[in-house]
Amino acid sequence: MIDSGSVAWILVASALVLFMTPGLAFFYGGLVRGKNVISTIMYSFISMGVVSIIWLLWGYSLAFGTGPEDAVGFNNFIGNFDFLGFRDVSATEGDGIPDMLFAVFQMMFAIITPALITGAFAERFKFTTYLVFLVAWVTLVYAPICHWVWASDGWILGIGSVDFAGGTVVHINAAVAAIAAAYFVGRRRNVERGVEPHNVPFVILGAAILWVGWFGFNAGSGLAADGVAVNAFLVTNMAAAVAAVTWGLISYFHTGHMSAVGVASGAVAGLVAITPAAGNVGPMGSLGVGFGAGALCYVAVHLRHRLRIDDALEVFAVHGIGGIWGSIAVAIFAVGGVGLVDGEANLLWANFRAVVATIGYSLVATTVILLILDRIPGLGLRTGTWEEDIGLDLSQHGERAYVADGAD
């Protein structure tokens, strides 16, 4: 039975999650140098185009097509072709909301996940190659992991792991792919003195859109306008708030200043961490989730600087560490007698396996994709030296972000 209130809420939640992708575009775009802002924004924006199409045509079916149980358990790993082109996905029938609305809501998750990766290789990844990467990655990495965790016959769901809104599927997955991509594309040129964000207001604008959009992401993931949504909404807000303040205060005591970019990063870290947990922790638990996220991700950003890997916008430190912490944290703080606080460790073990599986598969599959793309003539991962120096906006997109009067 369809409930119009739930339909209303999930329609809005879908719009909010879609809006997160341009939000991310501005968050990332503000962090890079001015000559690469269009490029960085486009990595995210074009995902709204490309991944929508993939998802409609085959992505949703691969992720959520569940056939009759087969002998070898193949269905535990990947969906079937029943829903190609949203065939037989009803716009009017479903459980609380129409099936098509679920498919649309999930589309928005598939859009933002690869966009998250782009922060790692920003300012140097070739745009045409990225378009191919998008298609390959969503098909070969995102859809399978999504199936494992969220499809009714997915094996990770089967072991009792809890990932309410995408700690493994979205964040850990993207973060692992990010670190791999940053490694294979190599370090940026001319960043020895560090890169100051070229437009901090854009970073804050992006963070604000992400924060608001995340209400759709998490509070929509219960697929109904009910108490679960209300609780998820609250804990999402609290984790963001606590992590933002935590990062800010650590930064203040560490450096003497509370950076706006840091506070925004803290908020995002908190939002990442609460994602797998939003349906299962209460208000006080969310404070713990947020505090851990703010502190751990701050430390992770600092440790990452010791690596040779130029994860330009710290995707792994924020989404990877934040996602892993969230997956553990839900097993600690979960209400209903399944959390470590109640002496139960099964969930922790299940989530641990889920995290390891996600990291392992994403790392291997993404690496294979990248190595192949690097070798395809005419593609290749990296723009040329001149292209990078002059900026990807001009060299990849034929545009300058900001043009002053008189100076055309």
Binding site: L31, V195, E196, H257, S259, A264, S265, V301, H302, R304
Partner: protein, 117 residues
């Protein structure tokens, strides 16, 4: 004619411009720059709010005005007085460069030389 080019703190621009006009300048032109003299610089965050890095250069504003040779000392004095920040002991107050200009043309009328200033 001479060109007087002053590199000053952005927040002192208005007083300096006023002082220049009072000292008899016929016009002025200014633009924002970044620079470093003896000044220490600042610490800024880089990346995703993580790392703190030193930047020796600071935002400054260059103001230039072209005047008759006779006004040189008056304008310099005016600028020095107006550009100095309170207390006057802090470094970073700026510098003035003087150089020779051989000709001036007023676009509107085509006039040349001091009359075009």
């Amino acid at each position: 004619m001479i060109k007087i080019e002053a590199v000053v703190r952005p927040e002192r621009v208005n007083p300096v411009l006023q002082a220049m006009v009072d000292a008899g300048c016929h016009g002025y032109t200014y633009f924002n720059v970044t620079g470093r003299g003896k000044q220490q610089g600042v610490e800024v965050f880089t990346g995703r709010g993580g790392y703190f890095a030193h930047r020796a250069s600071m935002p400054k504003t260059v103001i230039f005005t072209v005047v008759e040779d006779s006004k040189k000392e008056a304008v310099i004095e005016a600028v020095v007085n107006a550009a100095r920040s309170e207390g006057g002991t802090e470094i970073g107050d700026g510098k003035i460069f003087v150089s020779h200009v051989s000709d001036v043309v007023r676009v509107r009328t085509g006039e040349r030389g001091e009359i075009a200033l």
